[in-house]
């Protein structure tokens, strides 16, 4: 008979293993570590996970995270420039831009980028709402802040082609960013410089 952990532990290890960045060994180490805490760490983590799942929704306008029932601090800040719209791939990119301090306009989270191989089509992204928002806000400039890999470039071109006919200037971050890298791989200064060196598309 092959000895293994009790089923509940096996389920936990399997679920931890399926998380990004955790392999079989680190999942097992994490489980042991969690089980050795006699404090309230496990119930706390369990509760916070549920809380996030229940409480957090994307802002209908920009797509950044908000607590349901509350309004978006970014979209409703009267000091932000409402004629500039910065398109990012995911919500975490909004904070990266904010930390660089270089941008004072509004954001639009796409929720991904076009990737035919992964079956990500324009309908899967928040592109339709980007167009209607740019129209409603009388946006003068859309700044595309996507990574400069193949899929980022393709997504940027696709969006630029849709926006240009509406007379909206479409710019993109300067190529100060490392080739093939996304926003999660650059430091704040590089991001700052990339924003200021942005150039008009097409």
């Amino acid at each position: 008979m092959r000895i293994d952990y009790p089923p509940a532990i096996q389920r936990l290890v399997a679920q931890l293993k399926s998380l990004p960045g955790l392999g079989p060994r680190s999942a097992e180490r994490l489980m042991i570590w969690l089980l050795q805490r006699s404090d309230e760490r496990i119930p706390l983590l369990s509760n916070t996970l549920l809380e996030v799942k229940e409480l957090i929704i994307p802002c209908e306008d920009c797509g950044f995270f908000i607590e349901s029932g509350s309004s978006c601090l970014l979209c409703h800040d009267p000091r932000r420039h409402r004629q500039q719209l910065c398109v990012v791939e995911q919500a975490a990119d909004v904070l990266r831009m904010e930390r660089s301090g270089a941008f004072q306009g509004l954001y639009h989270v796409l929720g991904g980028r076009l990737s035919p191989l992964d079956n990500v089509t324009p309908e899967d992204l928040r592109i339709e709402s980007l167009l209607s928002r740019a129209r409603d806000l009388h946006t003068e400039e859309v700044i595309i802040a996507l990574g400069s890999d193949v899929e980022g470039e393709a997504t940027a071109s696709y969006i630029a082609d849709l926006l240009r006919p509406a007379g909206i200037a479409v710019t993109r971050l300067a190529q100060g960013m490392p080739a093939g890298g996304g926003l999660d791989h650059v430091d704040e200064l590089t991001l700052y410089q990339a924003l200021h060196g942005r150039r008009k598309m097409g």
Copy 2:
């Protein structure tokens, strides 16, 4: 005003960051990944964490994980050699020994190793119960399967000194293990060889 994630997300990232092996960036990436799943992954993980916390206890005898209310498969297996007791640092080490296939006796999980710098004293480990168990089981041989770093060596010597007066043979894994490494750094074959080359202490 500095923009940040909603409080619930900040709490989740802080808790993820405090887990071993997760830095600030991987914690944030994990949070984003979890939030992007629309499936039941978060409630499932949350629930499994609680389940493990509520259901899993250490076996009173060997210290391996069991579900509360059920009996230990290792301690109650009649085919195992009851005269051999293998001392390991933590529950995960029991499975590592089992996977090597080299050992058929009983286990004893210490729950750590002596470390004056971290305030781990003999009272913090399951040493008292090791002595009474060895007496009750009429153990002939105690095999010490701890890592060969300084703290592992010190713990091994301490235990050997307590057991030898009772006429119990104390052996330890052969030095096939890498210097300074614990059981989580060796492959199954090395562990197998190390067990078979074990030598008597003192």
